[in-house]
């Protein structure tokens, strides 16, 4: 049989590289669009790109703290979450968090400060310009992502309330509401979720409160309407859907330490030299990558934050 040579492919017929690389997004978008047509609605956070119904955040200031690493997709960031208030499976928050009502929202500020009170989120948002900060996020389960958060420095927020000299730590709490957060009917953790930082950690310029990601209002499954982001610590320190901030003198007991003190401590700094009892912390899987990569001390933010822990035994204070 004679095999005819195939004609050369014309330049115009070649898919541009950028489009080719994004082919899955198109397939996903086509699928989502078809599903939306079929059901007549687009489920929140299910779109392949951003969520078309989400409110956009304007005038985002670029931050010099941002990494230039490749960001994880909106889908990665919004469909793979640990947020046990909505279920234990990583897909549960995206499926169930629609029951959360992030507006109106207020935060109760109390404890060792000059200006305690209950503050409306709408007012808080007027206090600070919003920034975009692209941070690495390292989960204690040994996976990581790169996420473009939108928010403001935690330090600016803290200073507003004029903490006293007795304020050595800050304790934060998540909403406790069995109807909005059905996972709280299960005794998986002691609710509400609690987290804390030492005052110098809270005042560190890298620590931030996020109210959005990818230039849009924070999706419910990512901790709407306001959450903590501390990029040099394991992800569980980043408490979500915050309703209470308390300035305290003693180190607060955070939820995971309360649950399993042998596995999770107060500091929870990313540390490749201190293994979790059940898995290694030396390496991590960056979501979307085939090979594991080495985990960096303080998640690569050591130059900025290592001095906070000078003289401390981080094996003991894990």
């Amino acid at each position: 049989m004679l095999i005819k040579p195939t004609p050369d492919l014309r330049e115009s017929e070649v898919t541009p590289r950028e489009l080719y690389l994004r082919r899955r997004e198109f397939i996903g978008a086509a699928g989502a669009a078809a599903a939306a047509l079929a059901t007549g609605a687009m489920a929140p956070g299910e779109a392949a790109a951003q969520n078309p119904s989400a409110q956009k955040l304007a005038n985002l200031k670029k931050s010099s703290f941002s990494t230039t690493e490749t960001m994880n997709s909106y889908r990665d960031v919004t469909t793979y979450n640990n947020f046990y208030e909505f279920g234990l499976d990583k897909g549960d928050p995206a499926r169930h968090a629609h029951s959360l009502k992030p507006r109106p929202w207020s935060i109760k500020v109390e404890g060792e400060c000059a200006k305690p009170g209950t503050y409306n989120l709408e007012d808080i948002l007027k206090w600070f310009p919003l920034e975009e900060r692209i941070y690495r996020m390292r989960c204690v389960e040994a996976w990581s992502m790169v996420i473009p958060w939108n928010g403001f420095p935690l330090a600016d927020f803290v200073k507003r309330f004029e903490p006293t000299s007795k304020a050595k730590y800050i304790e934060m709490r998540t909403l406790l509401d069995l109807r909005q957060m059905p996972g709280q009917t299960e005794p998986a953790l002691v609710w509400p979720y609690r987290e804390g930082l030492r005052m110098d950690e809270a005042l560190h310029p890298l620590a931030m409160l996020a109210v959005g990601l990818y230039g849009e209002v924070l999706p419910n499954q990512n901790g709407a309407p306001i959450r903590l982001v501390v990029p040099w610590k394991y992800g569980f320190k980043g408490i979500k859907s915050i309703v209470s901030v308390k300035f305290v003198e003693k180190e607060p007991l955070n939820t995971w330490q309360q649950t399993r003190a042998d596995e999770y401590g107060f500091y929870a700094n990313v540390n490749p030299d201190v293994d979790h009892p059940r898995w290694t912390q030396k390496t991590e899987r960056r979501i979307g990558e085939f090979f594991r990569r080495k985990t960096l001390p303080f998640n690569g933010y050591g130059d900025q934050v290592a001095s906070l822990y000078a003289g401390m035994d981080l094996r003991k204070h894990y």
Binding site: T79, Y84, K90, A188, D275, W279, T280, T283, F290
Partner: protein, 212 residues
């Protein structure tokens, strides 16, 4: 068709196709790029849980035979056991190749230092001699009594698998406890059967082929 023919030509192919479904699910979803945000995790969990399920099924067959009197069930014990080994191998290879990129040191450190990996690895390694000696030729070579004795290692594998699952879970141990309970029940059934048989059969008339 005789009963043997029905089992061989109709039921066996159906069981085989059904047992391949979990693998088919993986291939299908991998092809469509639909294994979730963390595909390695998805594949690991999927192959692991199916290995454990097939181990439970293997242990279920003999008690089911006692209860139902359907001796044809015995023909499915080896194939189902081999499917457990098949999914166990996929599970281990996912961990070794995809998760640890064939770096032996990392795997060895896990096996030595982390109890849940120790349990899972032991469970898997103990299945290897069982898979190797699963042929009729090996039954003949070892003799029925020795072969049955050797294949009791599957009890250890099932318990090891359940323990591996229990220790691996971060918070909600409900499912691992179910698996533990089922494996425990199936093993207890064997102990009970052996105890009652000893009482019923006079010691002089010991049976030749003990049931595994």
């Amino acid at each position: 068709m005789t009963e043997t023919q029905i089992v061989r030509r109709v039921i066996k192919p159906i069981v085989f196709l059904a047992a391949l479904q979990p693998a088919g699910w993986l291939v299908y979803n991998a092809f469509w790029g639909d294994l979730g945000v963390n595909p390695v995790e998805t594949i690991t969990n999927h192959t692991g849980i199916w290995c454990l399920r097939f181990l439970v099924l293997t242990l279920l067959i003999t008690p089911l035979r006692w209860v139902s009197g359907l001796n044809a069930l015995a023909r499915f014990r080896r194939p189902i056991g081999l499917f457990a080994f098949f999914y166990g191998t996929l599970h281990f290879m996912t961990y070794f190749v995809l998760d640890h990129s064939l770096v032996f040191d990392g795997v060895w450190e896990d096996v030595v230092k982390r109890p849940y990996i120790t349990a899972g690895f032991t469970a898997f390694v103990l299945m290897i001699p069982l898979a190797v000696t699963s042929t009729t030729g090996w039954i003949r070579r070892l003799g029925g009594r020795n072969w049955n004795l050797l294949h009791r290692l599957v009890y250890v594998s099932a318990l090891g698998g359940a323990l591996h699952y229990f220790w691996k879970v971060k918070l909600d141990t409900t499912n691992p406890i179910y698996y533990f309970a089922i494996v425990g029940l199936l093993l207890a059934a064997r102990v009970w059967k052996a105890a009652t048989k000893k009482r019923a059969v006079a010691p002089a008339a010991a049976r030749v082929a003990p049931q595994a």
